[in-house]
Amino acid sequence: MPTSLTLEFSGGSEFLVGNQKEHKVSLPIDQPTVSQLIQWIKKEILTDHNRDDLFVMDDSVRPGVLVLVNECDWELLERNETILKDGDVVTFISTLHGG
């Protein structure tokens, strides 16, 4: 069963996904992990492939990108292994973009 999610990109990470902050998406995976979501994002919605590495590194986000699941810091959850449910809101905040 596919999983519907709301993705929010901010802090500069939205520049990597077509300069759009909010994305409503449907993943063709039942209860995906955050890690699976990140790989899916890399494949499907990262538009600037020259700068993929500003978002993805190995099987996770690049260090310096913060992740929230339903406004909760992923460091209090299972990080990469956090299981996502239908309707969840996942937020990515880059701290790597200067001011």
């Binding site: 802090g11 500069g12 520049f15 500003l54 690049r62 260090p63 310096g64 913060l66 406004e71 909760c72 810091d73 460091e75 209090l76 905040i93 880059s94 701290t95 790597l96 973009h97 200067g98 001011g99």
Partner: protein
């Protein structure tokens, strides 16, 4: 299964893991503890005196936006008795500052703090775009950094401030420790972790109230308090040396967040052996700004731009160059011509 907030008597669920100490807290307790940590840093170091006029170096970015907000909150809550003002620098990078200055304008209105904007063009005769057009993208961050540092000091002095505060956070300071170590710059290595520099008389003291505050916590603070800030990748940044240090620190942080505080602690604790020669700080003969050389770094860089000696002030090695050499001796040692006005160039 929600984790409870670690604050005693708080019944909310935790939503943030504080980088500072790894504790799990709710948004309200996070905000309170963030502010009180900064207050503790300020009070433990007696950073401000009552009645001081404090200029906040404001870029519109996350660090200075959070600093301006927290300074305003703490000044009121703990009655510091400070007069706070915002100071911004316009480097003259087309499309880069336009939006960030709008963000500073918003800080000015929302936080009700007076704002002054000074430009590189006004201060040095060159905008960053003009500099990049002249020298290319290799050393432009050197120009930008040196010019910005002086611009804030000069601007703050001009505004009659008695202290300048900047938004440098713990991650920034750890990066700087590492960079100074990698460059063998022991003079800077020794002083870069000081919470306040230039307070020994002569120049305007500048302080870093967020020196123990993690970048992650700053971004979380901005989010939970709905502080809007400006961000972009500086369009000239990809070549900068700092990015390598930054990357390394971020990777260390993921494995062990405390590494950042430990690097700062190493910097704070380091003592340079007394037989190591350190530059004696004097004054620039041209502009009067504090300098270890006859000409300060900014004046040296301007000299290079104006006379088309584009590596002046940039060269890595300590060299002696004739100011307007006859060009006969390419090794850079004295060419024997009548111009004896020599300029020493040391990389900063």
């Amino acid at each position: 299964m929600p984790i409870p907030c670690s604050t005693e008597a708080c019944t909310s669920a935790a939503t943030i893991k504080r980088s500072k100490d790894g504790s799990a807290v709710c948004a309200t307790c996070f905000t309170r503890r963030f502010e009180e940590d900064v207050h503790e840093t300020i009070s433990a170091t007696n950073l401000f005196k009552r009645g001081e006029k404090v200029a906040i170096g404001a870029s519109g970015g996350k660090d200075s936006t959070v600093l301006a907000y927290v300074m305003k909150v703490l000044n009121a809550r703990h009655d510091y008795g400070l007069e706070l003002i915002l100071l911004s620098i316009d480097e003259g990078i087309k499309g880069y500052r336009d939006d960030s200055l709008k963000s500073v304008e918003r800080n000015k209105i929302e936080y009700e703090l007076p704002l002054t904007i000074l430009s590189y063009k006004d201060l040095y005769g060159w905008s960053m775009d003009e500099i990049v057009a002249r020298i290319g993208k290799k050393n432009n961050c050197t120009f930008c950094g040196v010019f910005r540092r002086q611009a804030l000091d000069r601007g703050a002095y001009k505004l009659g401030a008695t202290k300048l505060v900047t938004g440098h956070n713990a991650d920034d300071i750890a990066e700087t420790v590492l960079m100074n170590l990698l460059r063998g710059d022991v003079a800077r290595l020794q002083r870069c972790t000081n919470i306040c520099t230039g307070d020994d008389g002569g120049s305007l003291p500048r302080a870093k109230p967020l020196k123990y505050t993690f970048e992650k916590d700053i971004v979380m603070y901005a989010r939970v308090n709905k502080l809007e800030y400006f961000y972009t990748e500086c369009i000239y940044a990809p070549n900068s040396y700092r990015n390598f240090a930054r990357d390394y620190i971020k990777k260390l942080e993921r494995v062990r967040p405390r590494a950042i505080l430990d690097i700062i602690y190493s910097g704070e604790s380091i003592a340079v052996r007394k037989e190591v020669a350190l530059p004696v700080l004097g004054r620039c003969s041209r502009c009067g700004y504090i300098s270890s050389q006859k000409l300060c770094k900014a004046c040296l860089l301007i000299e290079g731009l104006n006379t088309n000696q584009l590596d002046l002030g940039i060269k890595r090695k300590v060299t002696t160059e004739t100011k307007t050499g006859c060009g006969k001796d390419k090794t850079g040692s004295s060419c024997g011509c009548s111009n004896e006005d020599k300029v020493q160039s040391i990389d900063f």
